[in-house]
């Protein structure tokens, strides 16, 4: 008596599921049922999670935030219809690569700022005007926003910027010379400022 295995499929050949997954995501995207396309982009400041809705870039998250936690948060804040492997994140991934290589000074992707509200959103909308390689103080930004006393609130707005790196809250620093807090950690903030200074100084290409 020899045990005979009914030849039910056991597991798919290597890579087949990845292939099917990609085809499925493309169909979901075309069918309008993919609410958030996500991808992980590696960078000198660690893996960045990027999330793109049908309106634009909605979230950039640092590794220190815990990508799984951020995804779960997006699922409850926006929609659980979240998928990887969509081409929707490709343009941003490419631009991030160029930025970190010192070959790009501003990003050209649509933004979806639904995760920033009220005054914080106003500040986030002002940030792209702070030029590459330059800095402003929290106080200066508060004055630009028309609320010179709201220095602390500007700090909070920068700290909760849903799309860091792309919207350059890292260019907002303390007036005393300290670089201030950063969602991705002060080391990451310093690295971004150094990168931009070096690129402008011609150190990188």
């Amino acid at each position: 008596m020899r045990p005979t295995r009914l030849p039910f499929p056991d597991r798919p050949p290597t890579d087949q599921l990845a292939h099917l997954h990609r085809l499925f995501v493309a169909r979901a995207d075309a069918g309008g049922v993919l609410d958030i396309a996500v991808a992980t982009v590696d960078s000198p400041i660690g893996d960045l999670l990027v999330a793109v809705t049908d309106l634009g870039l909605v979230r950039v998250a640092f590794g220190t935030e815990g990508h799984d936690a951020v995804l779960t948060e997006l699922a409850s804040q926006i929609s659980p219809r979240i998928l990887r492997r969509s081409g929707r994140t490709d343009p941003l991934a490419r631009q991030l690569d160029e930025y970190f290589a010192g070959r790009r000074r501003h990003f050209e992707v649509p933004l979806d700022l639904r995760l920033a509200h009220g005054f914080r959103r106003r500040i986030v909308e002002l940030l792209p005007a702070v030029g590459y390689g330059t800095t402003v103080s929290y106080g200066e930004l508060a004055a630009t926003a028309g609320s010179p006393a709201a220095v602390r609130a500007v700090g909070t707005a920068c700290a909760t910027n849903p799309v860091p790196v792309v919207v350059p809250c890292h260019r907002v620093v303390r007036s005393g010379g300290g670089i201030g807090q950063y969602r991705g950690g002060t080391a990451a903030k310093q690295a971004l400022l150094d990168l931009e200074a070096a690129t402008l100084g011609g150190v990188i290409r």
Binding site: M1, L83, R84
Partner: protein
Amino acid sequence: MTPFDDIVRQHGEMVWRVCHSLLRPADADDAWAETFLAALVAYPSLPADAHVTGWLSTIAYRKAIDHHRRIRRHAAPTADLADRPAADDPEPVDPALVEAVNQLGVKQRDAVVYHHVVGMSHREVADLLGLSHAAVRRNAADGIANLRRRLTATTRPAAPETPTPEAPTPETPSSDTPTSEMST
């Protein structure tokens, strides 16, 4: 709520098994995508305490059956499940088994698919289908015996008429562990 991407990652293989147990490769891959598309649409309203495996496997099973019916309806008379696929088309499942599973009665097919292919316990299948534990157990065992009989008949047509080995076959393993192994 778990991002849907994790659901695909966790259950992609199970859905693949269901589709390939009931359909030929090209159709199975289609059904795999259809399953996850339907699931993605419905996902936001899935209750938090839902049995995800049961939910998804039911969608996959239904998609595969629908697909099979559609193929049958539109198939040219010559198109038969026994046709060999293109040489470079990997055949993860014996076409004779796919055919045999499709020919099972609904109760046996349900039990075989949910227990042996999906991998749910007899208890989980019973809860999903609203049947007794014993009924699921019996249907699964009868289904497997039936499949073995059909497969033996197709793969060894010239075999002398030995008595069907089903009778002396020991009871299905008493554990609730799903398995596709049967002793001869």
